[in-house]
């Protein structure tokens, strides 16, 4: 009686293992895309998020452990628009046969000033700050998953439709919240030029000011210029991402009268209420309305 029991147990273990292996293996290099992949793929995908919440994707570099996982992935999701400077090395070193999906490159770009050369412009990589772009990204991921696992096409389509509906609700909520701000007061002063897509979608003007986040002391001429801009534009609040230069920030707020707004999530998901895309977006919108109202 023991042998058939053992045989059944082994069979069950094999079935479970086979089931697990049937899941589409996905590697993601963006916290936003990790969530999106989980929403679209549901229980039919096994997603490895290489960039965790709170890690600056501009600074991230894959580790040997990441390369091993990527080598075995069937779909690799990248934020693109030059966010992942390591993409060439990633392809070369992993020898992956998986499909590399550069999500952000599937839709239009806004331009921003290059960090290393102010005379040059580069593609703004922060496309997820637009809900419309997120809706496009859902389609890109659904298509990629559907090609990689054709048997799961109906599941991916249903999951994508559900998530798009949630994004539509988020868009509507955002419009209602931002309607509390006069259109001529929608001016966003940030220390990190990451909200252009948000601004374009929601009728904001952006003034990115360097020198507040940086540990380098900006020149007094530059600080005076920032203060003059804030005064001239009647900006009520500024949103520094990291305050590494509190003296400069204090001088700017004291001289201009602008307040310091709450923390905004620019580069991806955070923790707590900002652990999901919807949570992150709601947090940013609420902080902006609170500070500029």
């Amino acid at each position: 009686m023991k042998k058939p029991g053992l045989f059944l147990l082994a069979l069950l273990a094999f079935a479970v293992r086979a089931g697990a292996e049937e899941k589409l293996r996905v590697s993601s290099f963006s916290t936003i895309l990790t969530e999106l992949a989980e929403q679209v793929g549901g229980d039919r995908v096994a997603v490895t998020g290489h960039v965790r919440a709170g890690i600056d994707p501009h600074e991230y570099e894959p580790k040997p452990g990441d390369l091993k996982v990527v080598g075995e992935a069937q779909v690799i999701l990248l934020s693109a628009k030059h966010m992942e400077g390591y993409v060439g090395k990633l392809k070369e070193s992993t020898g992956t046969k998986g499909v590399l999906v550069e999500v952000g490159d599937r839709f239009g770009s806004l331009k921003m000033t290059a960090e290393d050369d102010a005379s040059k412009t580069v593609e703004d990589p922060h496309w997820w700050q637009s809900i419309a772009n997120m809706e496009k990204a859902v389609e890109v991921v659904r298509e990629a998953f559907s090609k990689a696992a054709p048997a799961e096409v109906p599941v991916f389509a249903a999951n994508a439709a559900k998530y798009r509906a949630r994004l539509e609700a988020l868009k509507k909520w955002t419009r209602i919240e931002l309607a509390k701000l006069p259109r001529d007061q929608r001016k966003l002063v940030t220390s990190h030029d990451a909200f252009q897509y948000f601004a374009e979608e929601n009728g904001f003007e952006i003034y990115a000011i360097e020198g507040i986040s940086s540990a380098d002391q900006p020149s007094s001429k530059k600080v005076a210029g920032i203060i003059a801009t804030i005064k001239k534009k009647g900006v009520k609040a500024i949103f520094p991402e990291k305050i590494e230069n509190p003296k400069v920030l204090k001088e700017i707020t004291r001289e201009s009268g602008a307040q310091v707004g709450g923390e905004l999530y620019a580069d991806g998901l955070g923790e707590g209420e900002a652990a999901t895309y919807e949570g992150m977006y709601r947090h940013n919108v609420s902080e902006i309305v609170k500070a500029l109202k």
Binding site: L178, R183, T253, G257
Partner: protein, 138 residues
């Protein structure tokens, strides 16, 4: 200028002291924050708002900057009102809350806003049941 060196030193000291106070005021920054900057605030001007419906709703509420500016609990198929609102060059957002009769088919509301310059701008809001939408004019 002969006199006691002590007296002369005292006079110089007093002169420096007298100059020092205004100099300090001119060169040191005050810790008190300045007044919050204010953008050129758009002046409230009269605008016209006309609403027409394909199906009579139970109620309509119009909000501007989160405040109700028109509540209609017995709407008619076509109604009009003059509102005094700030109308900046960037335009305005009006939020419409419409309660259509339960079980009614998809219905529409046409909103025509006549701006302070007399120019008319039209937008439609479609919905069923409880509808809430923000419309940007122009």
């Amino acid at each position: 200028m002969r006199g006691s060196p002590l007296l002369r030193a005292l006079l110089v000291f007093l002169a420096i002291l007298a100059l020092g106070w205004p100099l300090r005021r001119l060169t040191s920054a005050s810790d008190a924050p300045r007044e919050q900057p204010t953008a050129a605030v758009a002046v409230a001007k009269e605008i016209g708002l006309r609403l027409s419906f394909t199906l009579l709703p139970k109620s309509v509420k119009v909000l501007h900057l989160g405040q109700a500016v028109w509540i209609e609990n017995a709407p008619t198929a076509e109604m009009q009102r003059a509102l005094k609102l700030a109308y900046p060059a960037a335009g305005i957002d009006l939020q419409f809350q419409i309660e259509w009769p339960a079980g009614a088919p998809l219905a529409a509301m046409r909103a025509t806003l006549t701006d302070p310059d007399g120019k008319a701008h039209e937008h439609s809001v479609w919905g069923q049941g409880s509808t809430e939408e923000v419309v940007t004019f122009p």
